[in-house]
C-alpha cells in the first residue's frame, strides 16, 4: 500500500517552500498544469485542481455501475480530500460519496448547483449519491474546506481524451522527482521496453530511468535493478502490478505486460518520499493535457544557489578595488616605503615589564586566600548536584527504558 500521507505532506511542504522562495516560478508552474492551452486535448479543469494536493490525474473508473469516492481522504495537510479527486465514469453511472469520519464535517456541492449533499456531516459511513447521465465535466467541492483544497471532479464519458494520445497528464505526480524533465520517452513499436531501477537521481541512486515512458498496448515493460541506491521495489498506484519486497541486487528483474490503455503511475515504496517515481503510458486512451504535462521539476535551489554564488564572486572581485581605494584615502601623498628590517639592537617590538600597570597592591603566596574562588566552586558543585538529581531521577527514570 502506498503511503500517500507522507508524500502528500512532502509535496505540499515542498510546494510551500518553493512558493516562498520564488513566488513567481511557483505560481507559474502551478498554473501551467491546468491552464487552457492552444490544443483542446485533455480534460480542462481550468485551474480547479491548482491547490488540491491529492490530485493525481483522472482515475479511470469506467465500466462500473457504481463508483465510490471517499470523503475525508488524506490530503491537503489533513483529512481534507476526496479520494480519488478526479474520476472518469460512463454516462449513467452512480457515484456514491462515502464519509470515512475523518477531517471534521464535510459536504459535497456541485459547482454548477446540480447536486448538493446538504449540511456538513462528520460521521463515518454516511453516504450521498448522484447518477450522472450526460457527458461532461462536473466539478464539486466541500463547502467548509473548499479554500483548503477539498475539491473533486467527475468526468463523464470520453471528454478530454485525445484519440491520438497527446502529452500525458500526470497531474502533480512528478513533483519532487528530479530526473523527470517533462519528457515522456516514446518507446512505441517495441515488444519489450527496459526501465532501470536505481539510476542516478533525487540526490542518490533513487530514480527510475526513464521515469516516463510510452508503450504500445500489449508491450512488456522490464524493470531492471542496477544494484545501486539500496533496496527498491516497483508498485503501481492502482495496484495493477507489484514487484514485491524491496530488492537491492544488481540484475534483478520484474516485468509486466500492459494489456489495457491508460496511464499507470508507480513508485518505489521505501523511496517514494525522496522522489523515486515513474509512469508508463499505454496505447492511445489515457488522460492527456495540452498544457505541458504538469509536474515539470526544476532543481529546487538552483536560483538561490546561483544568486549567492554570483554575489560572492562579485564581492571577492571587488575587494582589491576597495582596498586600493582605502589605501588612497589613508595615504594621499603615496604609501611610504616598507621600513627596512631594523638591526638587532633597534627592535621594533619590545616587551614591557611583567608587572601589570593597573596593579594596586602586591599579594604574595602567604598573603592570599582564595575565598571568592571557594564560594564560586561550592556554588557550582551545588548546581551540578541539583541538576544531576533532576536529570537522573526525573527525566531519565520516567518513561520506558531498556531493562534487559
Amino acid at each position: 500500500m502506498i503511503e500517500t500521507e507522507p508524500s502528500d505532506n512532502a509535496i505540499s511542504r515542498r510546494t510551500a517552500l518553493r512558493s516562498a522562495a520564488g513566488a513567481a516560478g511557483g505560481a507559474l508552474l502551478a498554473q501551467s498544469a491546468g491552464a487552457a492551452a492552444a490544443q483542446s486535448n485533455g480534460p480542462d479543469f481550468g485551474g480547479w485542481f491548482d491547490n488540491v494536493s491529492n490530485f493525481d490525474g483522472v482515475v479511470d473508473r469506467t465500466g462500473q455501475d457504481e463508483v465510490t469516492v471517499t470523503v475525508g481522504a488524506e490530503g491537503n495537510n489533513g483529512n481534507l480530500a476526496f479520494g480519488p479527486a478526479a474520476v472518469r465514469v460512463d454516462p449513467g453511472t452512480t457515484v456514491i460519496w462515502e464519509w470515512n469520519g475523518e477531517g471534521g464535517g464535510h459536504n459535497v456541492i456541485a459547482d454548477d448547483g446540480s447536486y448538493d449533499s446538504g449540511e456538513q456531516v462528520a460521521e463515518a459511513g454516511y453516504t450521498f449519491s448522484h447518477t450522472f447521465e450526460s457527458e461532461g465535466i462536473s466539478k464539486y467541492y466541500c463547502a467548509p474546506h473548499q479554500m483548503l483544497g477539498m475539491k473533486g471532479a467527475v468526468v463523464v464519458g470520453q471528454v478530454g481524451t485525445g484519440g491520438g494520445g497527446g502529452p500525458p497528464d500526470y497531474g502533480n505526480f512528478f513533483q519532487g522527482v528530479s530526473n523527470y524533465d517533462g519528457e515522456t520517452v516514446d518507446a512505441r513499436g517495441q515488444d519489450e521496453v527496459t526501465v532501470a531501477v536505481g539510476s542516478e537521481g533525487n540526490n542518490g541512486n533513487l530514480a527510475f530511468d526513464p521515469p516516463a515512458v510510452h508503450v504500445d498496448n500489449g508491450a512488456t515493460v522490464v524493470w531492471e535493478w542496477t544494484g545501486e541506491g539500496g533496496g527498491h521495489n516497483v508498485v503501481a498506484n492502482d495496484d495493477t502490478f507489484d514487484s514485491g519486497e524491496q530488492v537491492g541486487e544488481e540484475g534483478y528483474t520484474f516485468s509486466h505486460t500492459f494489456e489495457s490503455d491508460g496511464l499507470y503511475r508507480y513508485v518505489c515504496e521505501p523511496h517514494v518520499q525522496l522522489g523515486m517515481k515513474g509512469a508508463v503510458v499505454v496505447g492511445t486512451d489515457y488522460p492527456s493535457t495540452g498544457g505541458g504535462g504538469g509536474g515539470i521539476t526544476r532543481p529546487e535551489n538552483a536560483g538561490a544557489w546561483l544568486t549567492i554564488f554570483a554575489g560572492a564572486l562579485l564581492g571577492l572581485f571587488m575587494i582589491p578595488f576597495g582596498f586600493a581605494a582605502y589605501m588612497r584615502r589613508q595615504y594621499p601623498d603615496g604609501v611610504p616605503a616598507y621600513p627596512e628590517a631594523d638591526p638587532p639592537d633597534h627592535p621594533t617590538a619590545q616587551e614591557a615589564s611583567a608587572v601589570d600597570p593597573d596593579q594596586v597592591e602586591r599579594l604574595d603566596h602567604d598573603e592570599f586566600d582564595p575565598k571568592g574562588t571557594l564560594s564560586l566552586v561550592l556554588l557550582y558543585l551545588a548546581i551540578l548536584v541539583l541538576m544531576w538529581v533532576v536529570m537522573y531521577f526525573v527525566e531519565f527514570l520516567g518513561g520506558p527504558t531498556v531493562v534487559g
Binding site: 638587532p344 621594533t348 619590545q350 596593579q359 597592591e361 603566596h365
Partner: protein
C-alpha cells in the same frame, strides 16, 4: 637560573620575584625579535587555522538556518551532509590541529627560551599538514559539485560502510602524521634543553606541551590504524569489506582523547597566561602538573563511552570506561579551582574587594582576558552535560540527540575556540609586531560569541531531551513530530533560538576574522610595546615532587591502562575475522 645573591632576610617569594624581574630586564625583546623563525611558523599555522575557522564557521551558520527550517535556500538537504562534513573536519581537525601546533610552538620556544633544533623539520610537518588539509577539503567540497565524481559525505566520524573518496582518507592520515612530526620537534628541542639544564624542573608550559603530545601519540594510534591499515586500502578497492564495529572502536579509541587534545591547550592558556592577563599569578604550578599527568593517564581508556549503545561490546567494558571517565572529572574540577583562584589573585591585586565583588575589578575590556573567562564559564556548563553523557545508562536519554552537539559546542566550540580567538588578540601582535586594530570590535566580540552560544546551546540541549536527533538535515518528521513535546518549552521556540544563536556566532566570527585580517595586513610602521612576559606562579614548581616530571613513568602507566581497557575487547573484535563481519561499501 643562577643562585640569587640576595640578603638572607629577604623572603623567598620576594627573591623569586626579583630574579624574575632581572631576567626580564636582560631579555626585553618581544617574542618576534627573539625567535623570528619560530614566529614565522606560528604565523603560518595561525593563518591556516583562521582560514579553516572562517569557512567552517560559515558552514555552521548555513546548517543552523537549514535544519531549523528558517532558510533552506543555500543548499539541498542532501548537500547538508556535505556541508556538515566540511564543518566538522575544518573546525575540529584542521582549525584545532593547526592552532594547537602554532601555540605549542610558541609555548615551547618561549618557556625553554631557545629556538627549535630544526626549522627544516618544522616546515616539513607544516607542509605535510597543509597538503593533507587541501586533499581532505577538496574531497569534501567536491561533493557540492555534481559533475565531479568525488565526494566525502561521511561526516567527521566517517563510519564505515559509508565510504568516501580515497583522497579524503589520505588527506586525514597526512594531517595526523604531520602532527606526529610536530611533536617530534618539541621533544627534540626539549632534549637539547635538558642537556644544557640537567637539574632543572621542566618549565610549566613545555611540561604541558610534552604531556599533551604524549597523550596525542598514544591516542592517534587507533585512528591511524583504522585509516591506514583498513580504510585507505578499502577505499582503493584492495580490501572488499571492513567490520563497521571494529572501525568504530578504533575511531573512538582516538575520538575521546582528541577532545582533550583540544582542551589541554586551552588549559595551557588558562593556567599560564590568563592569570597574567587578570593581573595576577598562577595559584599553583604543582597542581597544574598533576592535572596534566592525570589527563595523560586517563584520557584514552575511556573511548567506549562513545559506544555505550553499540551492540557487540559487552557491558563490562562500558562500565570500566564509565568509571575512568568519571575520574577524569577530577582534573577538570581542580582546574576550575586553580584557574579561578589565579584570577581572583589578579583581581585583588588590582584592588578588588569583597567575597565576590572582586569580579568587577577584572579587565573585562581586554578581549584576551574576557574571551578566556567567558570560555571558562561556558566550559563549566559543558562539563555538566558531559557528566550526563558519561553516565552509562542515562546516556540512553541523550545518545545521538541534539543534546550531544549542544554539549560539544560548549566545550570545543567555546572552551577551545573562544580561548583560541581570545589569545590570538594577545599573541598575534607579539608574533607579527603589529598593533591590534579595532580594539573596540575585538572587545565586544567574545561577548557576542557567548550570547550566541548560550542561545544556541541551551536550545540544543532541551531539544535533545525531546528526542530531536542530531546529524539530520530536516528534523521534521510526519509521525515523530507529534512526540516532540516536552515540559521545558516548545520545539518551535528552540528552533528560533538555534537559528538566532547560530547567526550571532557567525557575526562574532566575522568580527574576529575582520580584526585579525586588518591587524595582519597593516603596515609595521612603528615601534610597539607588547606585554608578553609572564610572572612567576604563587606556588612554584619547587613545591612539587620531582617525580611529576618523570614522563617516561607516566607514559608507561598510561599505556598499561590502555591495554587493560582495550586489549580484551579489541582481540574479541578481531577474533571473529579481522575484516568481518563486514558489509559492502556504500560510497557517498
Amino acid at each position: 637560573m643562577s643562585t640569587p645573591t640576595a640578603d638572607e632576610t629577604v623572603s623567598e617569594s620576594e627573591r623569586t620575584a626579583t630574579v624574575a624581574e632581572s631576567r626580564d630586564a636582560e631579555n626585553r625583546l618581544a617574542y618576534l625579535e627573539r625567535f623570528p623563525e619560530a614566529a614565522k611558523l606560528v604565523r603560518a599555522c595561525f593563518l591556516v587555522a583562521f582560514a579553516a575557522l572562517g569557512v567552517g564557521g560559515l558552514f555552521g551558520m548555513v546548517q543552523a538556518l537549514h535544519r531549523t527550517d528558517v532558510f533552506r535556500g543555500f543548499i539541498s538537504s542532501a548537500d547538508y551532509y556535505t556541508v556538515l562534513t566540511g564543518h566538522g573536519v575544518l573546525l575540529v581537525l584542521v582549525f584545532t590541529t593547526f592552532f594547537i601546533a602554532g601555540i605549542f610552538a610558541w609555548a615551547v620556544t618561549k618557556s625553554l627560551d631557545r629556538p627549535f633544533t630544526s626549522m627544516r623539520l618544522a616546515w616539513t610537518w607544516f607542509g605535510l599538514m597543509t597538503l593533507g588539509t587541501v586533499m581532505a577539503a577538496a574531497a569534501i567540497l567536491a561533493g557540492l559539485v555534481p559533475s565531479l565524481d568525488i565526494s566525502a559525505d561521511v561526516l567527521f566520524t566517517f563510519y564505515a560502510p559509508l565510504q568516501a573518496h580515497p583522497l579524503f582518507y589520505v588527506g586525514a592520515a597526512l594531517i595526523i602524521v604531520a602532527s606526529w612530526l610536530a611533536g617530534a620537534n618539541y621533544f627534540l628541542t626539549f632534549r637539547a634543553w635538558r642537556k644544557d639544564n640537567p637539574d632543572e624542573r621542566i618549565p610549566l608550559q613545555t611540561f604541558m606541551v610534552l604531556t599533551t603530545m604524549l597523550m596525542w601519540y598514544l591516542s592517534t594510534i587507533g585512528v591511524a590504524i583504522e585509516v591506514v591499515v583498513f580504510l585507505i586500502p578499502w577505499s582503493l578497492g584492495f580490501v572488499d569489506q571492513v567490520d563497521p564495529l571494529t572501525m568504530r572502536t578504533l575511531f573512538w579509541y582516538f575520538g575521546h582523547p582528541v577532545v582533550y587534545f583540544w582542551l589541554l591547550p586551552a588549559y595551557l592558556v588558562w593556567y599560564t597566561i590568563m592569570p597574567k592577563l587578570a593581573g595576577g599569578r598562577l595559584f599553583s604550578d604543582p597542581l597544574a602538573r598533576v592535572v596534566f599527568v592525570l589527563f595523560l593517564l586517563l584520557s584514552t581508556p575511556t573511548g567506549f563511552h562513545h559506544q555505550y549503545l553499540d551492540p557487540g561490546i559487552p557491558e563490562g567494558f562500558k562500565m570500566i570506561a564509565m568509571t575512568n571517565t568519571m575520574m577524569l572529572l577530577l582534573p577538570s574540577l581542580l582546574t576550575a579551582f586553580t584557574v579561578v583562584a589565579s584570577i581572583e589573585h589578579g583581581a585583588r591585586q588590582r584592588g578588588g574587594t569583597g567575597r565576590l565583588g572582586w569580579l568587577r575589578s577584572l579587565p573585562w575590556e581586554n578581549p584576551a582576558f574576557s574571551g578566556c573567562a567567558l570560555a571558562g564559564l561556558m566550559f563549566a556548563a559543558g562539563g555538566f552535560s558531559g557528566m550526563i553523557n558519561a553516565g552509562m545508562n542515562i546516556n540512553y536519554l541523550v545518545h545521538n540527540t541534539l543534546w550531544v552537539p549542544g554539549h560539544f559546542h560548549l566545550t570545543v566550540g567555546t572552551a577551545f575556540a573562544l580561548t583560541a580567538m581570545a589569545i590570538a588578540y594577545w599573541l598575534v601582535p607579539q608574533i607579527t609586531g603589529k598593533r591590534l586594530k579595532h580594539r573596540t570590535i575585538a572587545a565586544v566580540q567574545p561577548f557576542i560569541w557567548f550570547i550566541g552560544m548560550f542561545l544556541m546551546s541551551n536550545a540544543m540541549h532541551r531539544a535533545g531531551l525531546l528526542g530531536v536527533p542530531r546529524r539530520t538535515a530536516e528534523p521534521e518528521y510526519n509521525v515523530v513530530d507529534a512526540s516532540f513535546s516536552g515540559a521545558a518549552g516548545s520545539y518551535s521556540e528552540m528552533r528560533i533560538q538555534i537559528a538566532v544563536g547560530g547567526t550571532l556566532l557567525f557575526v562574532s566570527l566575522a568580527m574576529f576574522v575582520f580584526v585579525m585580517a586588518r591587524t595582519w595586513l597593516s603596515y609595521k610602521s612603528e615601534r610597539i610595546e607588547v606585554n608578553g612576559a609572564i610572572p612567576e606562579p604563587l606556588s612554584g614548581p619547587d613545591h612539587s615532587p620531582v617525580v611529576l616530571d618523570n614522563m617516561r613513568l607516566w607514559l608507561a602507566i598510561a599505556v598499561l591502562l590502555v591495554l587493560l581497557t582495550y586489549a580484551i575487547p579489541v582481540v574479541g573484535l578481531l577474533s571473529d575475522g579481522v575484516f568481518g563481519p563486514g558489509a559492502p561499501a556504500v560510497p557517498v
